[in-house]
Structures are given as structure tokens and as C-alpha cells.
């Protein structure tokens, strides 16, 4: 592929060198990028991918955009992350793990890291720290939310990034999209849902499949958690069930400390 210069409305559009990096994660978000079969080739023509360990052996450390997946849970990861930050002009945190710690941060809830290690590895020493989001160590220029990220959203974001358009996440909660999809509200069907407080953008992926939202995209700009708590209780769901969901992906950690 040639790095031909293209114009959009007379404005030159560079094909930026991009690299993908993974930290503590399931690497599913990277895979979502490859899961764009129908549009993969167009997607690849927007970016000059120079480093993508899961998919290619060629690697280069000359890149402008770094897509970082995964949370940080070891000292060597912090070092690697800082190197990436130093190189990249734009650092994009991809997915709930990178943005909030993701499911991985569930281990933090025990407070006792030694117990956690013993539970899984017995007496063998393993190197692992508290799980933190990428933004705990370096400046993050852009977040792509979701567990997993939604490929349609990734495509729009990357196009906007390449064009230099501003990237605006929906500020409203999932309910808005759920209603647009004409779903029956899960509360009516006897299921709990975090849709009213979770940032939209997933097109109500879970509720549209009759799975109540677990808040993977973190709080909407207004997240009336206190009211949702009342709604949960009114519909017969325990505080435990609500907390299970709130703490699942790490996005609501500040609210949780208030609740608990």
C-alpha cells in the first residue's frame, strides 16, 4: 500500500503510522479491529499499521498513534507504557480495561493482593500489582469505551481522528439508544440494567439482546446512581446485584466508594 496523500475538502489527509499494544487484557478489543471483515481493507487504508504483535511479525517503533489495550498490573508494564507514551503523538486507550481497569480490577476489591496471589498460584511468587487504568500512569488523549469496543464506533472514531475532526462521545445514557431500538425495557421483563446511568455509544448492544447493561462504558455525563439504586430496590433487586454490575468493569469506582 502506498502512502499516497489524499485530500478531504482540500485538506491533506495523512495516513498516520499506527501501532497496537496490549497489556493485561483478553486482547479481544484488538480482535474486534480485525473483526471488521467487510470494511477491513478500507480501515487499513486509513492507517499505516507498523506494529500489531497479535497479527504481524514486522515491527517498528516509529508511530504517531498508539492504540493501547489492557490495564496495567505489573511494574514492567508501566515501563513499557511510558515508552509508548514518549513515542506516540496520540495515545488511545482502547476498551474498558485500558479506560477503567476492566474486569481485571475486580481483584482489587479484596484489598489483599497476597490473598489473591495465593488463591491462584499457591505459594509460588508471582509479580502482580493492583490493576490500574492506563490513565493512572500516562496522559490519555482519547478513550474508546466498551467491553468489547464496538467496531462501528471504532471506525467512526478512527476516521475522525485521521481527518482531524473532533471526537465526541455521547454524553447521554444507554436508555436513549435502547428506546431508539424499540426494545422493551428490561426492568419490565424483570431484569436489572445499568442503562440509565451508563454512557451510550454501544447502540444498546446488551439490552437489545435482552441482557441488562453491566456498565462497561462507564458513567454517562449525568449518572444518577442514587436514583438507580432506588429503582433497583423497587424492582426487587438487591444492593448486591447492583454492586455486582457497577463494579464489574471499573467505570463506576468513584460512585461505588460512596455507595459502600
Amino acid at each position: 500500500m502506498s502512502a499516497d496523500k489524499r485530500l478531504y475538502l482540500g485538506v491533506p489527509v495523512e495516513r498516520p503510522k499506527a501501532a497496537f499494544f496490549d497489556f493485561t487484557s483478553c486482547e479481544g478489543c484488538q480482535l474486534q479491529m480485525l473483526n471488521n471483515e467487510a470494511t477491513l481493507l478500507d480501515f487499513l487504508s486509513l492507517l499505516d499499521i507498523v506494529n500489531f504483535r497479535e497479527a504481524m511479525s514486522e515491527r517498528s517503533d516509529d508511530y504517531e498513534i498508539a492504540f493501547v489495550e489492557g490495564s496495567i498490573s505489573r511494574a514492567d508494564e508501566v515501563e513499557r507504557l511510558k515508552k509508548i507514551r514518549a513515542q506516540a503523538k496520540i495515545l488511545v486507550a482502547v476498551g474498558s480495561c485500558a479506560c477503567f481497569g476492566g474486569v481485571n480490577q475486580l481483584k482489587n476489591r479484596f484489598g489483599d493482593l497476597d490473598w489473591v496471589k495465593r488463591e491462584v498460584y499457591g505459594s509460588n511468587p508471582v509479580d502482580s500489582t493492583e490493576v490500574r487504568p492506563v490513565s493512572a500512569f500516562v496522559t490519555v488523549d482519547l478513550k474508546i469505551y466498551g467491553c468489547p469496543v464496538k467496531k462501528e464506533e471504532v471506525e467512526v472514531i478512527v476516521t475522525n481522528l485521521v481527518l482531524g475532526k473532533s471526537i465526541v462521545h455521547p454524553s447521554y445514557p444507554v436508555c436513549m439508544e435502547c428506546k431508539a431500538n424499540h426494545n422493551i425495557c428490561l426492568f419490565d421483563l424483570g431484569e436489572p440494567c445499568l442503562g440509565p446511568i451508563t454512557r451510550a455509544g454501544c447502540d444498546s448492544w446488551c439490552p437489545s439482546n435482552r441482557m441488562g447493561c453491566w456498565g462497561c462504558r462507564g458513567p454517562a455525563e449525568v449518572a444518577n446512581v442514587e436514583q438507580l439504586r432506588e429503582i433497583m430496590l423497587k424492582h426487587g433487586f438487591s444492593e448486591e446485584e447492583m454492586i455486582d454490575r457497577l463494579e464489574c468493569f471499573g467505570g463506576f469506582s468513584t460512585y461505588l466508594s460512596e455507595l459502600k
Partner: protein, 424 residues
């Protein structure tokens, strides 16, 4: 005769997760040949402790980005076994269909995007976009079919949303199923072309006698639950999985190792095929025979071919599963769940081999203890010993450093390891 060499591969590419290869040959003797998993561990088993049962499938999907459906279904099966729920036939068929599509998706990803570049002497699929556009497009077409099918049945190709304990949150439209079936039938030429492509590749000639472990088929090629079997004639019940896996911790790897009758064993497509050859769909068997693949095959590189055979098998089988579904009236979607104390084990064949989830519950259905045994961790020891043997044989044949490294990388890739999975 090879005198000396030092091979260090840090963060092997085109595999899921982080692993290193080390080979050190001195005076023709292999001093060291290692497979180290350096992935950061995630402690899923600890995370689950104290969580209600319904969290487990949702959280466990996140163990792996490639086989999230497998983890979800294994988790669901463990819970259902623990609570004494028997899925309805409709649910079982739908789950198997979903499982098949994940197998197809994952095998295709491995065959085309991760393994094929080695045989075509390129570093990744990227150069193939220009040099072999028809190959890339075919790969994309087939993979899209598999992924679309996962969307339709599981709600989402990655971290499924419709699969729950007791059944599904909602069912696909029958019209969606019949259009999937049509697409599968139309995909057969693409599969044939894939087979033909792999026939042009020369697989390295390497063998090491290995014990292969898999689920045991009784009426069909096994994917979900059932007995456990090894090529060394060990047979076990699903809930006795611990005796089959015997996990232990080694210090140079964040993933655990396993052993059974020998110092290591292998799981995966080749293991399934070695143990269940007779249950393959006739067309899949034909493909296997075309590659002279018959049980028990001890060449780990043949795992690629076993995956290819399984691609054919799952597509053929899915067509008949869809027929089965189209013929029936949709009944209940989801059974009620009554938690109870006790242990539940679920064993599943995921693309990379046999996967176990086991949970111990209290009366309220909270998890007291969790255990997940991942195929790649069962394979790690075997990969390690394979590398040693490969280094030995290569050294005696006087291969160059570059060749040895290339072979070793290909060997690891042939297992299609899922490393982040293995250090869940």
C-alpha cells in the same frame, strides 16, 4: 552438525498473548530449549470468589478475546451442572451451533492470519493484501460468515450477550437461521479453496510421541461436555477433570503446566481428531485423508491441518443443526434457575483444546472457589518439550540459526496458543 547457537525470541508475534522462546545449543548439544509464558496474570479465579453465580459467565467471557463464547458456555455448563439443570435439546443444539461458529472463526483466524504468512514467507497478512488479494478476501468472507453467525445466535461475536444459565435471553429469527444456512452452503467452494491452498504448503517433517487428551465422543464429534479420554487409554468422567489435568506451577512461566501419563500432553484440534476420528463428518474425513492425517498423528505441525479438517466438519455439521432447528417449534427460551450448594464442572472443547470451568457454590449460589483450566496451559509443557526435541533434531541436521528460529516459531504457532487465556 550444528555447533552452537543462541536463539531468543521475545514476545513471539502472531500469537495471542506474550511468550518467549529460548534455545541455546553448545557443541551440538542442546543446553537449553524453553517456552516461557510472560503474560501478566489476571487472577480470574480469585475475582470470582464471593460473586453470585450469574456473574461468572459474564466475567469469564473476558478470559479470552478469541474464545469468549467457549468460556461463556463452559462457565454456564459448570453452573448448570452444579445446580442440576439440564439444558433443553433446543438450547443444546443452539449452543453447539454457536460453538461451531466460534471454532470456525478461530480456526480461520489462525490458519489465514497467523499461520499462513509463515508458509508464504511473509511477516503478516498485510503484504498478502497486495500479493494475494483473493486469499485475503476469501479469508475475510469465511470469517465474516462465522462471526455473523455468532452475532445472530449469541448476540455478539465477542463476549456474547444472549447466552445465559438456563438457555438464552432471546432466540434468533428462523429466517436469520435459514439465511445463515444458505451462506454456509455457498461457502463450501471457499472451504475447498482453503483446503487447496494448504495442500500447496509443505509442513515441517517432525514427530515426537505425544499423549493427546480430549473429550470423548459417543455419538458425535465432541464439543460440549461428556467423558475425557487420552491416546494413552486414560478415561475419566467430566467432574474428575483434576485427575486429567494435574496442573502445577513452574517458575519460568506465569501459566501453569499439566501432565498425565507422561511428562506432558497435548490438547487441541489434533488431539480431538486423534481421539475421535470416526465421528468426523464424511467430507471432513476426506479432507483429512487427503493430507494423510490419520490417528494417531504425532506431528504437532499437523494441528494446522486438523484445524482445517474441523473447519469443514463444523460447517457441514452446522448445516444439519440448522435443519434440525428449523424443523422444530421454538419452545421456552430460558429455564428458571435454583441455586444450590455444591461443585459444578463444565468441560468444553474450545478451538485450542479442552477447557474446564469448575465452581464451588454456597447455598445462595455464591462462588466460594473457582478453577479454570485452559487448553494452552495444558499445552505449554508439551510445547516446551517439543521445542527441545525440535532443537535437538535440527541441531543434528545442521540447520542454520534462522531456520531453527523460524521452525520453533512455527511450532509454537501451530499450537495456536492463547496465552492471555492461559494466564487468566
Amino acid at each position: 552438525m550444528k555447533i552452537s547457537c543462541d536463539i531468543k525470541v521475545d514476545h513471539l508475534t502472531r500469537v495471542e498473548g506474550h511468550g518467549n522462546i529460548r534455545i541455546k545449543i553448545r557443541n551440538g548439544r542442546v543446553e537449553q530449549a524453553r517456552w516461557d509464558v510472560v503474560e501478566t496474570p489476571r487472577f480470574f479465579e480469585a475475582m470470582l470468589v464471593g460473586k453470585k453465580w450469574n456473574n461468572a459467565p459474564w466475567i469469564c467471557a473476558r478470559i479470552c478475546g478469541i474464545c469468549s463464547i467457549g468460556h461463556t458456555l463452559a462457565s454456564i455448563r459448570a453452573i448448570e451442572n452444579g445446580f442440576g439443570i439440564k439444558p433443553s435439546e433446543q438450547t443444546s443444539v443452539l449452543r453447539l451451533l454457536l460453538k461451531h461458529m466460534e471454532t470456525l472463526q478461530s480456526h480461520l483466524l489462525h490458519l489465514y492470519f497467523l499461520a499462513a504468512p509463515d508458509f508464504l514467507n511473509v511477516g503478516s497478512v498485510m503484504p498478502l493484501i497486495e500479493s494475494h488479494p483473493e486469499v485475503v478476501k476469501r479469508a475475510a468472507r469465511l470469517k465474516q460468515l462465522a462471526n455473523d453467525a455468532c452475532d445472530v445466535i449469541g448476540g455478539r461475536r465477542l463476549h456474547p450477550t444472549r447466552t445465559v444459565v438456563g438457555g438464552f435471553t432471546m432466540l434468533p429469527e428462523k429466517s436469520q437461521l435459514s439465511s445463515l444456512k444458505k451462506r454456509m452452503q455457498a461457502a463450501v467452494p471457499d472451504l475447498t479453496a482453503t483446503v487447496e491452498l494448504f495442500q500447496t504448503f509443505t509442513l515441517p517433517d517432525f514427530e515426537r510421541e505425544t499423549e493427546f487428551v480430549s473429550l470423548k465422543g459417543d455419538e458425535r464429534y465432541p464439543f460440549i461436555g461428556g467423558g475425557l479420554i487420552s491416546t494413552d487409554q486414560v478415561e475419566m468422567e467430566e467432574h474428575d477433570y483434576l485427575k486429567m489435568t494435574n496442573e502445577f506451577v513452574v517458575d519460568h512461566s506465569t501459566s501453569k503446566w499439566s501432565r498425565l501419563s507422561r511428562q506432558s500432553f497435548a490438547v487441541g484440534a489434533l488431539a480431538r481428531l486423534n481421539n475421535n476420528f470416526s465421528f468426523l463428518h464424511p467430507e471432513a474425513r476426506e479432507v483429512a485423508e487427503g493430507f494423510s492425517l490419520a490417528p494417531v498423528n504425532n506431528n504437532p505441525f499437523m494441528n494446522n491441518i486438523a484445524q482445517l479438517v474441523e473447519c469443514v466438519h463444523v460447517v457441514m455439521d452446522s448445516i444439519s443443526l440448522i435443519d434440525n432447528l428449523l424443523d422444530r417449534e421454538w419452545t421456552e427460551v430460558r429455564q428458571p434457575v435454583c441455586p444450590r450448594a455444591g461443585l459444578g464442572v463444565g468441560a468444553l472443547e474450545v478451538p485450542r483444546g479442552i477447557l474446564y470451568h469448575a465452581y464451588e457454590f454456597d447455598n445462595a449460589g455464591r462462588i466460594i472457589k473457582a478453577d479454570c483450566v485452559i487448553p494452552t496451559s495444558q499445552n505449554n509443557a508439551n510445547i516446551h518439550y517439543d521445542i527441545f526435541e525440535l532443537a535437538q533434531q535440527s541441531a543434528s541436521r545442521g540447520k542454520s540459526d534462522g531456520e531453527i528460529q523460524h521452525l520453533a516459531e512455527m511450532l509454537v504457532r501451530a499450537y495456536d496458543p492463547c496465552i492471555s487465556c492461559s494466564v487468566h
